[in-house]
Symmetry: C2
Subunit: 193 residues, 2 copies
């Protein structure tokens, strides 16, 4: 997605340790006009495939998922990271190791909102080691729902997550795949499709 | 907002201890068509007032804020609850006591995304004791930005938050204000405007 790549080049900041800061437009401040284009593009890439629900994970996936859902005309469910008073009752849970946060946490979805008959599109902002996406896919499987595919805004192609997900036969669409980044020069090299 | 009140009556579940579960359409599963109507209504209620940015708080405010932002044509910033690798650098912080989660936490926003010249509309799903909203208002003040007002989907009118916020002279618009709830009968009484 050309518009997205240009935006990453312009406003993304490369840090040591494979960190890409895109918090000026994607995951802290959110450019809703860009999100509209992202949503449109996800819809185009999954055209002809059946989607009845979008599943994402708090917090930075939610905005993208909600705008994307407008194009699919389906509800969004977000997996929660902490058990709260309000999510008492039966939940599907899965364990995720976060690259960004450097910790392990449980994600959960109420059994009320994911089940047999659902055809689920996963949406998230980043794909790095793929653990969040694998955790979400696990929730879909545990619920007896069908996984239509996964839409990712930025894939770190130099980490293993994307290959692992594709290797499992999941239809993965990443709008920008970064093959390499250099913190010293700020250079970002995108994969050509 | 009639449509919202009807939805709360139909799908909301009243629990002991002043808990209202609306996670089938508002804050776990999210009905994007309803969010569109909510966004439209916030825009109508703040008509003529200047808004350059929407500020919300993770996680359940984000979806509503993003859809609402389409009507105001402004970016959204969400305050984060935990310090992560990606939000290093200068931040504004504020302390919040959560009713839902029964704990105290810090919220923070990068200084890059809130500052002098911003006219900020706060958006959140719930207003109970008002602590989250007060924390957000504090971030706006610390940033030297201007607070245009606050848009809340559901206000628990039987708690003190709304009065406290209004008492501070903040333009608060709550789309549904609940004056009382009864867990035994499931009755919800809305305030008439």
């Amino acid at each position: 997605m050309q518009l997205l790549k240009e935006r990453i080049r312009r406003d993304g900041i490369v840090r040591e340790g494979g960190v890409l800061k895109v918090d000026s437009f994607l995951n802290h401040q959110m450019d809703i006009d860009l999100f509209e284009e992202i949503g449109k593009e996800f819809h185009r890439r999954f055209e002809g495939e059946e989607v009845t629900k979008i599943l994402t994970i708090e917090a930075s996936g939610i905005g993208i998922a909600c705008i994307t859902a407008r194009y699919f005309q389906v509800p969004v469910v977000f997996a929660k990271k902490n058990k709260t008073k309000n999510i008492a009752g039966d939940v599907y849970t899965s364990r995720v190791e976060s690259f960004t946060h450097g910790r392990v946490y449980d994600i959960m979805v109420s059994k009320d909102f994911l089940g047999k008959g659902d055809k689920v599109l996963l949406i998230d902002d980043f794909l790095a080691n793929g653990k969040a996406l694998e955790g979400l896919a696990q929730l879909v499987e545990d619920a007896g729902a069908e996984l239509t595919g996964a839409g990712i805004v930025i894939e770190k192609g130099f980490q293993r997550g994307g290959d692992a997900i594709r290797g499992r036969g999941i239809h993965l669409e990443s709008l920008a795949i970064i093959d390499s980044m250099d913190a010293a020069s700020g250079t970002i090299t995108f994969r050509e499709r």
